[in-house]
Symmetry: D2
Subunit: 361 residues, 4 copies
């Protein structure tokens, strides 16, 4: 029983007797390097005890160090990734004088009950449509409350025919930020200007002669205009996911990768900057919809504190398990085809809209 | 180039110069055993040259032997599985005097163009909705022409919430036969009488206390009545896939397997008989929809001659590849969640119905 | 905390205050049918309180009913599958007067520590070689102690080149029973007599011309002899997995399935009998090695009480999860290629043998 | 038949009647942007007809443009990615005056027969050990001939216990370059200095208390030293894959990604530079072994011309299919656990060495 209790404490299910000692601090002696035994941050809200007072840590995220700065205005504690540490800061070492709160106030206020059922592991053998309904309901609530829903999307969204539905979600105000890479934007723009995606006609499902060159022509065209926004302005891109982002002022960030052709002028090949752009868009997010992109979703997961709902959709159970396995109740994994998922999601959004409209009248 | 041509011949893409020799025959000397060098049948329509005449083979299927019987009424050739061979029959050996027709007349008459696009390999990265539309269209055509569409279904159909949609398809006359095992029927009946499937509440997606016992209670209940049909008659089963089969006189066959609990009284644990029941229901099928059951679908595939459209839906790409890889143009593989697939399929059927109704008026 | 405790009780981690009431019994009124509210058995050792005394349940297995018979010799309790219930027996209903022991004595005696690490979930991202070593060690211990190790094997064992290694394990006495279906035996015999498996030359890895017919010729040949044992006796089969079973008097049972061609004369197409044959071979097993066959392994899992070590090897993570997810510490899942697994396993067995030999001398 | 021929031409299986027209050229009018209808390059050796002469294209790769420069020294043609195009260059547009050679001379010289069997599609149901033997043989030949074998590796190599074997291959001279990302290096260094990988003890397979922090401590330690090479020099890293690279002067390039923590000082977060580093290491490669990293392997595939042998190993069939599906005979896909693959590979290398040594004596 003892070992069970100790495990429960680890899981944050129980409160420890308050640790009455101050946290141990050591100075940063080299920019971008932490002291040897630095405390590694988690996704949970954290407080550090300094001079007898509990100080809340800002910018909570996984795998950071806790940097303490003392100025005339007082003591601040910030969660920083290693490379952002500066000489002059103090860093928390060891594990004493630190407490994390697993059940945040904000999470209790927002009724998360409806999410709890979904977190019961990952399986391709359960009813996806139930989750679709709840995601629709959640997106609607967030929009109506002026909240923030972020989508990370991979090129498979376009290849499986979900581009139209994702465009609609953006157009109707359900998406406040889009995170992805070069490929989702290229495939989307190819479809917009040539009707194909990786050379496959999306209306008829057949490969077009010479179509394998289309994605490079799409890239080249945008490069000529200088940016996606300018290509939209110039009337070159007249529909699609990126078009709706530009037209509806929805921020997007495209992170480069080693496999990128071109790339598009908007693709950020400096990943230090790309991570900053991602973090900026993620700030204050209420929900993140992760659509068929393990790479970008893992990046997003690391940057995101507890309390943010995450829905991860992928055809590969291993990816869903990896992404939704954060130990937090708000992560939901769905093993399914992302095209059908979006198709049904938009239908449920439409139903909700009819319902609301009916109620008003 | 020569090897390419020889390969094309193998594929049936070209006609060989007519083989002017008679087939070689050897007698069956032991029931259920073929002569050593017997010709193994394929799914393609086959003719055997006997005494200078081409005789069409009946009951074409894969992996059979060609049994020749000569009576006063003439010569008949039949494709038989090994265990059905009888002393007194002649069996074709070697490969001479045999021709197969890869493009059957019936397939040309039915315009199969709409299917051709789909057979371009298996991938989870393409637009499933296009295939859904075409399957809807095809099912509608078959029903209106008085044809025969068969469904093989695994328990995942019920677990992913597709039971209601499959029930509707049966009720509306789109399905002429159902093939499966013990599990699909048990899960369906559990849902019908207890609202759960493997103990999971299908409306709310949560496990019910003690729910893991539900499937055995369902089995026990049906055993008490003696058969599914009697349980329907008695008002014990009042909805679901099996209910609709009984009510709409749609034949079904449930093949037993080594893993079966119970089983249901309808589950055929003698597999020789189960294979016969399957073959009976498959006779004359125009289309087979294979929904998330590799085991039963492979069995069905072996029994089915070329010219029958097959659509195989599974979340596991390896299963889809295995099932749709028959070298025949009519096999289509779809990697997706079967619950969403059925949900969208029924919507497309409904649209078609509105369309037809509108046209009439 | 309360709900956690109640959950722990469910898991068997804690002892309940002794239930001082007798179990409720109801008579069987129809052969093969249990009373409505019958208690459904688990894999854990179970005792039933009858007339104030705890009676141990025999033939423990999952998803059975507890049948109580009172004779002059006393009261017996037996775990029976539904179809085996007879009029005249009493069946336990409700949940009172039943206790299950999760930690069995036998399991504590056998030091199972070495197995505990492995049960930490299923992932393709961990070190398989560690598990191989421990399985080797375990098989050696079982053999030397005169224990019983059973293998369930699918055809993929042969296709991935593991036939030779499995043959060696049998020959060297590490396997006391083999469970499978028609396919594993057919592929193995095809390889033995023709050097191919599904027509692929196993030495060179290339398809042999006309090789797709080989498996049927293998079946036909064995049918001619009447059984695998007779084909071995006649010198037709001179090596391989089935050969070693026959030569070393290792029992095997081949359960039929709806997909079976032929089948071999040894394949039991009556599944009631096949389940009996399986149960017989499994009786008293210490360890079960499940090699790439979900179907047969699920069947085996249902028949097997807690306390038997299970190692499940499959390339598909979903299969491994399903098979090793029994809630018992002795189940280990390994996601890997079964051919390489067996190749390394045999190497480790050989190392152990050298080690032992060295020690002796 | 006509359409078959046209398809064969597309596949490069047949020679077209020589195109007697010059290629069409258009000037680059904006840096990094090609003319509208630019010809998109393939992996195959290409020649362009300019002023009646066929000019060989240098730096062949996929998805580039053909840039033509005319100087006093003559005409040069180079395959360039879009962003590298400069004003002043001419780019080939349309498809006339271009020829590609599918069977290169170098490939014919090196007998590639042994590779042909392996390219017969991707399946988890075939004998991996045969491929292992051939890869061992090939690596040996390349080393002895002073050739170049490159490895791309993901962190799963370390997690599955393959680090030791990959280290051995590097130490013994079988690897001339290593391509990967931040994670493979971090996991490897964590294992070297703490004995764990992602906190899992690699000798015992169990999670170490607090081990999830280990990888960040490893990163922090290397950051303190300034680079992996300096950490090796300082005696902080004393074994492992990265250690062997440094000690044996094997070039490596670590490409950053959006998910990277830290990162290591050696991880190139500017992807333009990372792609250049990759290209540099890949120059003149004879063989590429792709070990469980889709991201980096796709990047590598795009940069690599035809004629380079590729072996792709992954537990996920979809990844293997995607990577090995380049339409070239030299790509081989293997669905298996990479840890066991490397374990067996090293054994076969050792056998070859014993063999060679025996022959010499």
């Amino acid at each position: 029983m003892e070992s069970i209790v100790s495990h429960l404490i680890d899981l944050g299910a129980m409160n420890l007797p308050e640790d009455e000692r101050d946290a141990k601090l050591q100075p940063v002696t080299q920019d971008g390097v932490a002291p040897d035994d630095f405390y590694v941050s988690t996704i949970y809200p954290t407080e550090v005890r300094i001079k007898g007072k509990w100080v809340k840590v800002h910018s909570q995220r996984m795998d950071g160090a806790l940097a303490i700065t003392e100025t005339s205005k007082g003591i601040t504690a910030q969660c920083k990734i290693l490379r952002d540490l500066n000489v002059g800061e103090q860093v928390v070492v060891d594990v004493q004088g630190i407490r994390t709160i697993r059940k945040t106030e904000s999470r209790e206020k927002r009724n998360t009950e409806e999410f709890s059922f979904m977190s019961a592991g990952v399986s391709s053998e359960r009813r996806v449509e139930l989750i679709v309904e709840q995601v629709a309901w959640e997106l609607r609530k967030i929009r109506d409350a002026g909240g923030k829903a972020i989508v990370t999307a991979g090129p498979v969204v376009i290849l499986t025919g979900g581009g139209e539905q994702l465009s609609q979600l953006i157009r109707e105000g359900y998406v406040q930020g889009l995170l992805g890479g070069n490929a989702i934007a290229v495939h989307d723009i190819e479809q917009s200007i040539m009707g194909t995606s990786l050379g496959v006609d999306m209306k008829r499902g057949i490969s077009v002669r010479g179509g394998h060159r289309h994605h490079l022509k799409a890239i080249n065209n945008v490069r000529r205009h200088g940016s996606i926004a300018k290509a939209v302005e110039a009337g070159m891109i007249i529909s699609g996911v990126m078009y709706e982002c530009v037209k509806n002022n929805v921020s997007f960030a495209l992170a480069g990768s080693i496999r990128d052709d071109g790339p598009l002028p908007d693709t950020q090949m400096d990943l230090i900057k790309a991570q900053q752009e991602y973090a900026e868009i993620l700030k204050g997010a209420d929900m993140i919809l992760m659509l068929s992109t393990m790479l970008h979703s893992i990046g997003v997961g690391n940057m995101t504190p507890a309390g943010v709902k995450m829905v991860c959709v992928d055809i590969n159970p291993a990816v869903v398990t990896k992404l939704s396995d954060r130990g937090s109740v708000e992560s939901v994994g769905v093993v399914t085809d992302v095209g059908l998922f979006l198709s049904l999601l938009v239908q449920h959004m439409d139903k909700l809209t009819s319902l609301y409209t009916a109620q008003v009248w």
